[in-house]
């Protein structure tokens, strides 16, 4: 399927359907060269974050525990806001987030234009 290109900065790619994601269980999506952790919260919202722990010991975040709109990092137990990737007090840092677009039951994730397409292949 053709990716949807919005008027501004992002190109959105279809990565699956709402039912492909389980509530409060992360799933890894490889989109081009990006490794993304996708989470569905209890209220059905879908979030996409770079699958990379902001903590000092590194690791991935897709396996963390989800509570509300907060992710508990599985390695360092830091709390990460799913909405904007900010690490909550007392720790600091930020995880990159990707825009998510749900149309019907189709889930799309946006990449900057220069990150997608043949640019990366």
């Amino acid at each position: 399927m053709e990716p949807i290109v919005d008027g501004n900065e992002y190109t959105y790619y279809l990565v699956g359907h709402v039912d492909d994601f389980t509530e409060r269980l992360g799933r890894v999506v490889h989109l081009g060269k990006e490794e993304i952790a996708v989470f569905k919260t209890t209220d059905g919202q879908i979030y996409a974050l770079e699958n990379k722990s902001p903590g000092p010991r590194g690791g991935t975040i897709a396996e963390g525990i989800i509570s509300g709109q907060v992710l508990f990092d599985p390695i360092c137990d830091w709390q990460i806001s799913l909405a904007d990737g900010h690490v909550l007090d007392p720790d600091t840092g930020q995880v990159r987030t990707y825009p998510v677009d749900v149309l019907g039951d189709e889930v799309r994730i946006g990449l900057f234009k220069n990150e997608g397409g043949e640019f990366h292949e």
Binding site: T22, V29, H30, E63, S67, I75, D77, P90
Partner: protein, 813 residues
């Protein structure tokens, strides 16, 4: 288009402790400010130079002292050039040039070239067999020499020389320490301490030639001896020079940077040239070039903050302390150490126990100290010296070692900037401020607010003391003991468990709702805990909540720091077959396993498995999960026992396998380890297990509450039983009693201290009715367990959602 801001380029010359420590701190403070390139002359990643003496005495391997492995550089995007020496800095063009022709431009440059051993300028110093003791290559030289030669001399009776000498002695060489002065370590120890140390080292086999000035090295190409200024000689086929170090300044000097003994720096490690800094042993700050690790870390902290634009106090010099790293010898020295006018001195000299302690006071304030034979107070003493603490009755008692009615309030003595939690770098002031400003009343709250005690938990008692100290009368020890299970609720473990039973709550959502949790979906503390308590209370009714499991228990594999997993199949009692081993080997090859490790629990760990490959490997293995990741029975370690061993009185392997098969897969409050031994020689190490069983002629002894982990504890004898049936029943009752009364994540070692061995013995041994009831409830719980790997393999939906990743191409066609 989004314009990517070009990051500033930071070049570090010197891949050692000072430079890399600075880089680590920069990465912590401002991870994306700099693009970083590192040059190192040695062919290794950054290692712990202080621990070279351990490598020399073979108590550690080179790999053990690596501080930042190759992956660390990769993960942090650092470009590393090892075996590459920078030969010139063009300070005008801002370019460094290396011996291999590389030219790299920099925006900011840190010189951390360290120091080299000072080689005595006497005839023959260039002969073969004369080395310094500075890096891994030197260490390997020394190890090599020990294989070939017998007689060694170490020139220099200071810290480094003594460590080198002790290392060579341990390698079987005949070692003489040559020292210019009459007393060894004369720059750190007074007369008495020096003599005590020498006597101790002599008793361990070292020889000393003190008051000897080296005049010439004898021999042809290779050294054969040393001639001293008094005309005497010493045979030596191998010589280590440890008379001192000299900052490596040649590069800086040659590049036009101001140099004295070391590279001159100000209080922010700035050299005379803009954008060029020097840190560690290569620099000279206020006239001092340090040769110890603590000052260079302190310098690194200031430099990192400065480079990241974080407000920092200037570096104003360090109080250095010395500690000899030789096994079996405790020597510590800091600040002033010699008797002098105007000093009052507290001294303990005990020849029988071979202890010497000396604390020096000026106007009542502690300004220095020496400890020999008993280094227990060394870290506090150093702190007192650094802050110029006034001597008090309590400190005096602590030093003199008299038991006083009032123990020293160690917490009150701690300086504000003293680091309490080493894992997370939390100071006393952080904690005190958090308690005062946020009105904290429990350790748990302090943990959340400051991160103190969050990682290894070793500092928890100190954190609790600080809390007690700050709150004074308001500190409620009962509240502390009945601490809330997490910050989502004020209820303790016991209150929650009682409520679950009384109100008949089955799901964790119900618990959080009925018990009015602050956070409706809980947190990473209470989610796994509630899931455990519910499963324990309602074994048949509760449905396991996968989303509340820690990653390892959810994926049924151990996650590693690179996001891959470890797979450990069951190997009951540590017993396997050639067929199984062959199968494991074939699978390891098929899936390109990075490492196969024999675990501490007598089985094999396949490391470096990709998440998607987990189910495939399980399928191919066809073996049950070893639960190496779970809060459950891990392994039953066994010795060979009566089946083969000539000492074995009991069939330990047989009993171990029965126990492992019976109790595997059952959720416990924390991980749980067993061992079964065929005789009291205890080869399977019962004393550090949750349950350790020791076979005797005609009886089994059951030990409980042992732990070999962070807080080591020896197991205590619970009881002796005659028959296998009794053994199984008591083990079963003990495990169930622990399941029913333990706090989530509380090991039996802590649990038994909390509840008391006596009460546990009463419940699971003496009270026969209770024992039987516990064992019966255990059977109900055991009836519910399922093998997780095959469960996932048989559920394609679960398998897909949990283990399969989605791949989408971004190529437009």
């Amino acid at each position: 288009m989004v314009k990517v801001q070009e990051r500033r380029h930071l070049v570090l010359i010197g891949n050692g402790m000072a430079g890399i420590n600075t880089v680590e701190q920069i990465l912590k403070l401002a991870p994306s400010t700099y693009r970083i390139t590192v040059f190192g002359s040695e062919p290794y990643p950054n290692y712990n130079r202080i621990q070279l003496s351990y490598v020399l005495e073979k108590s550690k391997a080179v790999e053990d002292i690596i501080l930042n492995d190759w992956d660390w550089y990769l993960e942090n995007g650092i470009e590393l050039y090892t075996g590459t020496t920078v030969t010139h800095i063009d300070t005008e063009q801002k370019i460094v040039k290396a011996d291999n022709g590389m030219e790299v431009p920099y925006d900011t440059l840190i010189i951390a070239t360290g120091s080299t051993p000072f080689i005595l300028p006497v005839p023959g110093a260039d002969k073969e067999g004369i080395v310094g003791f500075r890096d891994i290559a030197d260490c390997q030289n020394m190890l090599h020499a020990a294989d070939q030669y017998k007689k060694a001399a170490v020139i220099g009776g200071g810290l480094l020389g003594l460590e080198a000498a002790k290392g060579l002695l341990k390698l079987g060489m005949d070692v003489t320490v040559v020292h210019l002065f009459e007393e060894i370590m004369e720059r750190q120890l007074d007369h008495t301490a020096s003599l005590m140390l020498q006597a101790e080292l002599e008793s361990q086999g070292l020889k000393f030639a003190t008051g000897k000035q080296t005049e010439e090295f004898l021999g042809d190409d290779r050294v054969s001896g040393i001639r001293f200024s008094d005309g005497t000689t010493l045979d030596a086929e191998f010589v280590v020079m440890a008379v001192g170090i000299r900052p490596n300044t040649a590069l800086a000097k040659e590049s036009g940077i101001e140099v004295n003994r070391g590279i001159l720096v100000d209080d922010f490690m700035r050299t005379s040239v803009p954008d060029i800094y020097a840190v560690g042993e290569c620099n000279e700050h206020r006239g001092i070039s340090y040769g110890l690790v603590a000052p260079l870390f302190e310098q690194g902290a200031v430099l990192a903050k400065h480079l990241c634009g974080v407000d920092t106090k200037p570096y104003e010099g360090s109080v250095v302390s010395t500690q000899l790293k030789i096994s079996g010898v405790d020597v510590f020295s800091a600040g002033e150490f010699m008797d002098a006018e105007g000093l009052s001195i507290v001294r303990v000299h005990d020849d029988w126990r071979r202890i010497y302690k000396k604390v020096l006071l000026r106007n009542g304030r502690i300004v220095g100290g020496v400890l020999v034979g008993d280094g227990k107070e060394s870290s506090r003493l150093q702190q007192w010296i650094r802050t110029g603490t006034v001597m008090t009755e309590a400190i005096h008692n602590a030093i003199v070692g008299q038991a006083s009615a009032e123990t020293v309030n160690t917490v009150a003595d701690l300086a504000d900037e003293e680091i309490v939690c080493g894992c997370n770098g939390v100071t006393k002031k952080h904690i005190v401020d958090a308690i005062n400003e946020k009105g904290l009343t429990t350790v748990e709250e302090i943990k959340v607010a400051t991160s103190a005690s969050r990682s290894c938990g070793g500092c928890r008692p100190v954190v609790e003391q600080i809390l007690q100290y700050v709150l004074g009368d308001k500190y409620d020890s009962a509240a502390a003991k009945q601490e809330a299970i997490c910050t989502c609720t004020t209820l303790s473990r016991d209150e929650v468990v009682t409520a679950i039973k009384e109100k008949g709550l089955i799901t964790s959502k119900e618990v959080r709702y009925a018990l009015e949790w602050d956070n409706p979906e809980g947190c990473s503390k209470c989610r796994p805990a509630l899931n455990y308590y519910l499963g324990m209370i309602w074994p048949a009714e509760h449905v396991d909540e996968k989303d509340s499991r820690f990653v390892n228990e959810r994926m049924h594999a151990n996650i590693q720091k690179d996001g891959t997993f470890g797979v450990v199949p069951r190997m009951y009692g540590g017993v396997t077959t050639p067929e199984d081993l062959r199968l494991i080997a074939d699978i390891a090859v098929k899936y390109n396993i990075k490492l196969v490790k024999v675990t501490g629990g007598q089985r094999l760990d396949l490391l470096g498995v990709k998440k998607e490959d987990l189910p495939k490997i399980w399928q191919d293995l066809g073996m049950p999960s070893g639960y190496a990741y779970a809060k459950a029975l891990r392994t039953v370690k066994t010795c060979v026992g009566s089946q083969f061993c000539r000492f074995g009185t009991k069939d330990s392997m047989g009993m171990g396998i029965i126990l492992e098969k019976k109790f595997e897969r059952l959720d416990m409050p924390a991980k749980f380890k067993l061992a079964v031994n065929g005789c009291p020689r205890n080869c399977a190490e019962s004393s550090t297990k949750d349950i350790g069983i020791v076979g005797n002629e005609g009886a089994w002894e059951i030990y409980v509450g042992g732990n070999g982990g962070i807080k080591a504890r020896l197991a205590e004898l619970l009881c002796k039983v005659r028959t296998d049936e009794e053994l199984l029943e008591i083990v079963s009752a003990f495990m169930q009693h622990y399941r029913e009364t333990g706090k989530y994540l509380e090991r039996t070692s802590e649990w038994i201290e909390r509840r008391g061995l006596k009460s546990v013995t009463e419940a699971v041994v003496n009270d026969l009715d209770n024992r039987r009831a516990l064992a019966e409830r255990m059977e109900v719980a055991l009836a519910q367990v399922k093998e997780p790997w095959s469960e996932i393999l048989n559920n394609s939906n679960l398998r897909e959602r949990m283990f399969e990743e989605i791949s989408v191409s971004t190529k437009q066609d």
